[in-house]
Symmetry: C2
């Protein structure tokens, strides 16, 4: 997958970083430029879902919205604290 090469900027080699990173990219190719763009509204729901699985550092969320021709792009970069012990929809209430 050539996408691998375009996803993360390299970490500084000298830094001892334990944080994990998550990048979410949504690209919506519309049938026409007039078709509605739902990506901005989707953003909050995506973060809610991801937050079920990993600890999200709320101060380390960076969002880019872009458009090129008929394609809209939503890019979310999150610093996370790793997977939660009981992750996901089936986790018991704590």
């Amino acid at each position: 997958m050539k996408l691998f090469n375009y996803l993360f900027a390299p970490r500084p080699k000298s830094a001892a970083i334990a944080k994990e990173r998550l990048k979410i990219v949504l690209a919506h190719e519309r049938a026409s430029r007039d078709a509605p763009d739902f990506l901005p509204r989707l953003q909050k729901d995506l973060l809610t879902v991801v937050g079920r699985y990993v600890q999200i550092n709320e101060e380390m969320i960076h969002v880019n919205l872009g458009k090129s021709g008929d394609t809209s792009l939503l890019e979310i970069n999150i610093e996370i604290g790793g997977a939660k012990p009981n992750e996901g929809r089936l986790a018991p209430a704590s």
Copy 2:
């Protein structure tokens, strides 16, 4: 955003296609190779959330899971029927 160039394969020019396409890419850079990988479990929840906003053609969902070093990649390609009229969490029950 240079990502634009790597997201969609070009459509055949001769075809009159009204379908829209959505690509979802999640890349998880873990602190170590031993850190748990939550992307496979996240997949179903993501589709549920996206399905609130757009009509998903269930037969046109293609999923790739990959791994390169400490980075896991989940790539979902969906053919969609466009945004729903009352999209999202605040839509009234129909």
